[in-house]
Every structure is written in C-alpha cells, then in structure tokens.
C-alpha cells in the first residue's frame, strides 16, 4: 500500500516525532508507514485522515495507485 503521509507532513512542516505524537504511535511506526514497510490498521488510517482533514483514500492507495473512489468505478466490482 502506498501513501502520501510524508508529503502531507512536509506540507505542514511537521516532524515525524510530532506526527507520531499526534497519532499516538512511535516515530518508528511513522517512518515505517512513510517508507512503505508497514501498512497501518484501518483505525490508524482513520486517525491520520481525521488529523489531515482528508478522506482515507486521499492519503492511502493500493499498489496500483487506486483509491477507493477509483475502485468503485471498476465494472467488475
């Protein structure tokens, strides 16, 4: 799963530690999510979406770069 966490964080001039504190996780977890080594749970993804004031699919994408909106357009879905 890919994500825009690093970009969104940089836009707001937040450090990994500040974001980690705001999401109540460790800095290591933020780093692992940003580098794509770890996929967050739905609960954590919701927390991140709330913090950035965005929808989950605007932050997290599957490997093909499709968010939930694009997937809904799939005729086979």
């Amino acid at each position: 799963m890919k994500n825009r966490l690093k970009v969104l964080r940089a836009e707001r001039d937040w450090t990994q530690a500040q974001l980690a504190d705001a999401l109540d996780v460790s800095r290591q977890t933020i780093n692992a999510i940003e580098t794509g080594k770890f996929d967050p749970s739905l609960q954590l993804a919701f927390r991140a979406a709330r913090l950035f004031g965005m929808r989950i699919e605007e932050i997290f994408h599957d490997e093909d770069g499709l968010g939930a909106t694009e997937i809904k357009k799939d005729p086979y879905a």
């Binding site: 707001r12 001039d13 450090t15 980690a20 996780v25 460790s26 800095r27 977890t29 692992a32 080594k37």
Partner: protein, 140 residues
C-alpha cells in the same frame, strides 16, 4: 496550517514509564528467584516456613511481572506490538523445538549434560533478544 504540540508528551513517555515499571518487576522477580534458590542454603538453614515464604513471594512477584508485561504490550502501538508478538512467537517455537529433543536426548543419555530448565530459559531469552533486534531493525 495546523500546528502540533512539541513531541515527547504522549506515546513515547507512556511507553518509557511502562518499560521502567516492567524492568522493576523483572528485577524484583529475578531477585526473588535468587532468594528462593540460594536463601534456604545460605540464609536461613533450610527453615521450611521461610522457604515457603520465599516461594510465595516469588510467585506473587511473578504474577505482578506478568500483569506489568501485559500492560506494556497493550500500551505498544500496532507496529511495535507486531514486532513484539513476532519475537514472542519465534521464542516459543524455538523453546519447543529445542526443548523437547534435548529433554528426550538427556533422558536416553545421548548427551552428557542434564536437561536443565536454566539452559532453556537462556536459549529463549537470547532468541527473544535477537528476534526483537531483528524486528526493530527491519522496520527502521
């Protein structure tokens, strides 16, 4: 643009507190293990009541350590919990895989040494340590 508070007040400090508490319980448990093992011979000349008291203290402190460990794991975030549980799974597996054959071989005198539980504990401790280090480095 949203402003966040400076880091250090939330998760990290809570984990540090839980870790210190767990370390204290671990230290206390090791202390009561030593008391239970060496006390009867070295301190109170095998007095039964004091030996039972030492055993009871060890079990009580052991329960405290267990609860403290549970609280520590519950306080971890999802990645760190995953690393911890992976390390625990590997440790239990290695303990079983190594423990049973050694016990059988010692029973049939295939190996010269006694299958002491202390060896198994040392092996499991080392396995857990290496697994935790590997897991932590993997997600760094």
């Amino acid at each position: 643009m949203n402003q966040l508070s400076p880091p250090g007040s939330g998760y990290e400090s809570r984990i540090r507190t839980n870790m210190i508490r767990l370390a204290c319980w671990n230290g206390a448990w090791i202390g009561t293990c030593a008391l239970m093992s060496f006390g009867p011979k070295l301190l109170w000349n095998r007095a039964l009541l004091l030996t039972l008291l030492a055993v009871g203290t060890n079990v009580g402190v052991g329960v405290g350590m267990l609860l403290s460990n549970k609280k520590y794991v519950e306080g971890l975030d999802e990645l760190q919990r995953k690393v911890y549980l992976n390390a625990l799974a590997i440790t239990v597996g290695v303990g079983l895989i190594a423990g049973v054959p050694i016990s059988v071989m010692a029973g049939y005198h295939v190996i010269p040494c006694k299958a002491d539980i202390a060896y198994l504990m040392m092996l499991m401790s080392l396995t857990f340590l290496v697994s935790m280090l590997y897991g932590t480095r993997r997600y760094r």
